[in-house]
Amino acid sequence: MSSGETLASLDYSILQQCMHCGMCLPTCPTYDATKNEQHSPRGRISLMRAIADGKLTPTQAFGKEMSYCLGCLACETACPAGVDYTHLFETARAEIEQAGALANPFRTFLRFLTLKFLFAHPRLLRWVGRLFWLYQISGTQALLRGLGLMRLFPERLRELEPMTPNIQKKFSPQLIQPLEKPKGSVRFRVALLTGCVQDLAFSDINRDTADVLLANGCEVVTPPVQPCCGSLHAHNGDPGTAEVLARKMIDLLDPFSLDAVITNAAGCGSHLKNYGRLLRADPRYAQRAGEWDRKVKDIHEWLVEVGFRAPRSEIREKVTYHEACHLCHGQKITQQPRQILRAIPGLELVELPESTWCCGSAGIYNITQPDTAAALRGRKIGHIESTGAGTVVTSNPGCHLQISTGLRLRGSTVRVSQPVSLLARAYRKELPGGRPPQGSAAGGARNVRALAG
């Protein structure tokens, strides 16, 4: 989608591609919950088509419906006809904002604060993150929770407070140098995207990602200040800002000078691979955006593509894997994270029932639709507990936080981690003192590569 595109101006064949066969219905969490077609991909597309045909306007009811959609893209995986629901979903949400179908002063203020202000200014976001860290580290959070003082806050704030991520003491630039070289020969030159939420809440995972890349012969370029990828904006009806951010990103990292642009957050990755579509009408960027799409690689995808080195040290743990929607549905990456986990000696991977079913995080869905999000979270936690695994891994900050919250509220002892962190840990254990590995080790190293086809 590019800014200004509406359902009516959209290439009609994208809407027509839906042959309303209904195969998406059983994979849609909101249809599953309601058994009402209106809350299904096929139903939503029929409403979009009605708007495109001039038989319906973007009403408040339509706006609410599109807010109820998780955007998990499970329907895209199920669709026999290959409908580009991402494009339709983003266009519909943008049209709802243009029409002001859901507008009220508070919502408009919140949207401005998050989309145009916080998530458009990375330095500012880090500063706010620092304030949150102080709140948590100073004992204020513990005090408020301990004394039950949260009761004094408005209900919505009380519901949201347990979901606030634990902010890291150090953000990515304090952990990762702008340029880090592997010990041995350089096989590839890659950029590492540190993300927004990922940077504040999981900068350690960014460090792990850099370590894993170094251990596999990648020179890692990590600009200390990076723009938001614009995923939040594109998914929430602000394609204009999404385009601005995409241009900033491409200006910062020229895809032609890199072998790959690495992302470790599924939600970002899914959007980052769409810059070509986003900027296709911009002659100054269209070519670079196309190259950008080809160069963006999810970390798991990249590791398997280049044949990552299997670690030699063991991690004796029973692990289960929750698939982030925007990895398995948005990017169709399902086997690579499992291949990485299976390559770790001693690690027992047990399959999670409904591993591709949304956990309810879905970007900011757990804030906008708390009831549905909580129900999905409960369903996910139940499945995680049924596996008997001591650790659940996933690869998206939203899922990570959502599942952590769910486990904490349940009083569970199951840990949450990410495949790349387990791999980094296994590499580290190979070295005396567990120092971060630099460069690929020689002699007897087993390479893991994707099977052809």
Partner: protein
Amino acid sequence: MAFGGNLPVSLRAGCPGLEVRDQREELIPYSFDGTAVLQQLPAAVVFAKSTAEVASVLRWSSQNKVPVVTRGSGTGLSGGSVPVSGGIVLCLSKMDKILEVDSDNLTLRAESGAITAAITEAAEKAGLFYPPDPGSMKISTIGGNVAENSGGLRGLKYGVTRDYVMGLEVVLSGGEVVWTGNQCVKDVAGYTLRDLFIGSEGTLGVITQVLLKLIPPPAARKTMLAVYDDMEKAARTVSAIIAAKIIPCTLEFLDRVTIHCVEDYAKIGLPRDAEAILLMETDGYPAAVEAEAAAMEKIARANGARSLQTAANAAEAAALATARRSAFSALARVAPTTILEDATVPRDRLAEMIRFIQEIGKKHRLRIGTFGHMGDGNLHPTFLTDEKNREEMHRVEVAMKEIFHKAVALGGTITGEHGVGLAKKEFLEGAVGRLNVEIMRRIKQALDPDGLLNPGKIFNPS
């Protein structure tokens, strides 16, 4: 048949507690089913949660002379659940409970909104088998399957939905509730009324519960894939297998257009110069399966199969089935509008029918991929077109007409498993004759004198 007053208000008053939806955004998603092009906005959509609620809706409908179109998951391919103008859609998707699996009598009882795949799973859990497997079984409802008498890939050996229905609970026009059938394997007490409702497409009553027959599952299975340079040779293989007194559970084919589309989409290494691919599967007692598979392999080679692969295990079997499983997806991606048809002919006329469809495609400059169930003569000519191109859509209509006429001329039928609905009613009389349609009208008149249940489907009111 326009309703005089405020329909939703009257409906809510007449059926207290019933979930009634009437906003435009709530109606549009219920204005179509799985059939291409057909669309009609209903006046209201209601979600029944019990037989009593269904009865109250039909009572209200009779009193107020408002037509009712019953719907499950709306995956039908002949327009059977497309709403009627000014009528209400009675959706049974919320009546989805599996009520009982009886291992002593080998039966399963479920509400009609239960998903077909859930029934298959429930049977499996009890160590039993429910064979009908329509393509949409992951979401289709059992009530819809019964109302359309759905088929699937296992038709040749295991039959279709009708062969597994032992009893039905049906709400009649006016609201009376009747049970027809029971758990007895033998029962000749009077007319077998349940058979009347199977395949009736919601025109005679509303099915609210089904009692299904289950069978023991086959213990072993063997899968093969054969490639041919000539459709005739594939058809001869099928005839020879059956002449050898083997009834495989699967005999599925893809034609050249479909092979190309599958290869473009799935890139699984299918030979692009092949004219036909045949997926064959036999199941049953392990020793019998081994012997049958060996015989089928020999027959396929003797009848000119260019190459033949036999799966050694379940994973290989799944790989061989990929081509057939991807067929519809591969075709659906090619053009904006995909029209899936189901002309059916006796097995021995199949090659002739496929050749005819290919000629029709050339004659009318249309892309038609054909795949389907070679064992039971059920073809799926699939039109890859664009509904916005009116001139091309006209050619599609003409081509379809010629295909149906040919199927009937070869001793076949206009629909093997999708039903007549709206899409094929103009061809019904040509297929079954005037008297057959007349008898159907009399039955309809007896059970639904006001013509309120799915009116205008299968045939026009007299």
